[in-house]
Amino acid sequence: MRIVVCVKRVPDTEARIRIAESRTAVDPAGLKYIVSPYDEYAVETALRLKEARGEGEVVAVTVGDAAAGESLRAVLAMGADRGVLLRGETTMDGLATARALAAELGGAQADLILFGLKAADDEQQQVGPMVAELLGLPCVTAVAEVEVGDGQVVCRREVEGGVEVVESPLPAVLTITKGKFEPRYASLKGIMAAKKKPLEEKEARPGPNRVRVRALRYPPERQPGRIVGTGPEAVPELVRLLREEAKVL
């Protein structure tokens, strides 16, 4: 069984973001980068599926610049078997990224292609189902639990107010959300082993970018908060403010 996991390198979710002088991008200087959190859940899912079967291969694929190779190494250190770096520019046009991934994955003979629910930078929540559509594969999104059976998968998909139990034949594309399992940390042994694992580099073919970022700005500052008071005695004043000032009650 071959499982491909698509991962993206993104700024640390805790880092302060600085907008570049161009006002259309983030300034990467001094920024710490990580593998996008949901993608780590996808990697964990892939590794567990492989372990449960006792056979198979987990391939990590990314579109990005040379530094994105570090993210692949991090995923190899978690336990993936090999990596593919598609070198090219990433943009907010998820369809362009999807085209680059589909061009590579069309011939990958994967049984499952896993994505994170959304990337922690652009947060478009679109690349996974787009790749599925471009490849003509079935797709289930927001999957919290997967069970692989004979030629099919059964997924628990999170929707408002509950879960959908969804089945799909293989091969299939899934986007993974947080489920029962936390992503594993790379062991020292894993980190050493990752250095020797194959990491292939190719040129990405994303095609045109048709999402133009006209401006990037900081979110509107929230008015500085106000401490209404201390302990239960402050509650009546809080309720009054909510009703009369904020008008939300």
Binding site: Q126, V165, P169, G229
Partner: protein, 328 residues
């Protein structure tokens, strides 16, 4: 005349609340280009009766597809229907709800039609004929204004950002003639396991969230009682710390790796206000924080704060809200 299409959402034949929001958002865009709003609804027989009601929010024409195969969400069926409709019409823009369904459907339609898509719009404006979509990025640490260089412009709209506005229009129902082929659909929803019937935290106008400061799951009844007092429009949320501890299900988690909420009122109880939690609540209009630590970062973003022990403050808050509700 330019036209804007709104994709409505139904479950089991009943329209979901986000549908009216998407129509309202489509109305905003249509006003900007001097155009009209179409809506498409696909669902089980009888859904047409509900769909006509969307005229109230400004829909001129409501395209309807009825089939038993569409009772539950079929990604492939809906993609076929919406893509087919778009192909046959000249839409300036197509708006989808930013719900689980809309975020599943929109990218499929986009890829099938080779169109770019902007996800999770919190603002829409037409400037010089261009649709400018404002969308949060980096967990709300920045806002991007984007322009889609294609037509139609595909956008998903974040729940709760466009409050439904009455704007009566014809709402004339027309059957959409697409030959759906359920036998060819590969992805099937076997069943929907309902965890709760009240409003989902991602769509709720009021959210009460608990964190590690709640001390344990045995104290959650205090949050449930407050939520009940606030009314049926209130949903419970949780920080990741308490979800990881197994106190609450992940479906309630708010933040970077949970749900993004945009309620009128967000009450954070015993939550410190980590960056990843804030990522989920930046869209909240009013934030209330209850925390015993006056230096907790949550107070920096809270509109109103109470410094105190949640176990003492919560019962009092519930009591005062009940009094207020009783007084009408």
């Amino acid at each position: 005349m330019p036209k804007v299409l709104a994709v409505a959402e139904q479950r089991d034949g009943a329209l979901r609340g986000v549908s009216a929001e998407v129509v309202t958002a489509a109305r905003v865009v249509a006003d900007g280009v001097g155009g009209e709003v179409d809506v498409v609804v696909a669902g089980p027989p009888g859904v047409a009766g509900e769909a006509g009601g969307l005229g109230r929010y400004g829909a001129e024409r409501v395209w309807v597809v009825e089939s038993d195969a569409l009772r539950l969400y079929s990604p492939e069926g809906m993609t076929e229907i919406v893509a087919e409709l778009i192909r046959g019409q000249d839409y300036y823009a197509v708006l989808f709800p930013g719900s689980a369904l809309g975020k599943d459907l929109a990218p499929r339609v986009a890829a099938r039609l080779e169109l770019p898509l902007a996800g999770d719009a919190v603002g829409l404006a037409v400037e010089d004929g261009e649709l400018v979509v404002t969308r949060p990025v980096y967990g709300g640490r920045a806002m991007a204004e984007v322009v889609l260089e294609a037509e139609p412009r595909l956008v998903t709209v974040r729940p709760n950002m466009f409050r439904p506005e009455e704007r009566p229009a014809a709402g004339s129902v027309e059957r959409l003639d697409v030959g759906i082929r359920p036998e060819s659909w590969r992805v099937r929803v076997r069943e929907v396991v309902t965890e709760h019937t009240h409003v989902d935290v991602a769509e709720a106008p009021i959210v009460v969230s608990g964190g590690r400061g709640m001390k344990g799951p045995e104290n959650w009844h205090l949050l449930e009682e407050l939520c009940m007092a606030l009314g049926p429009q209130c949903a419970l949320g949780a920080s990741r710390a308490v979800v990881d501890a197994g106190w609450r299900p992940h479906s309630e988690q708010v933040g970077q790796t949970g749900k993004t909420v945009s309620p009128q009122l967000y009450i954070a109880v015993g939550i410190s206000g980590a960056m990843q939690h804030l990522a989920g609540i930046r869209g909240a209009r009013t934030i209330v924080a209850i925390n015993k630590d006056p230096d907790a970062p949550i107070f920096k973003v809270a509109t109103y704060g109470i410094v105190g022990d949640v176990l003492e403050v919560l019962p009092r808050l519930t009591e005062e809200i009940r009094k207020l509700r009783a007084a009408g």
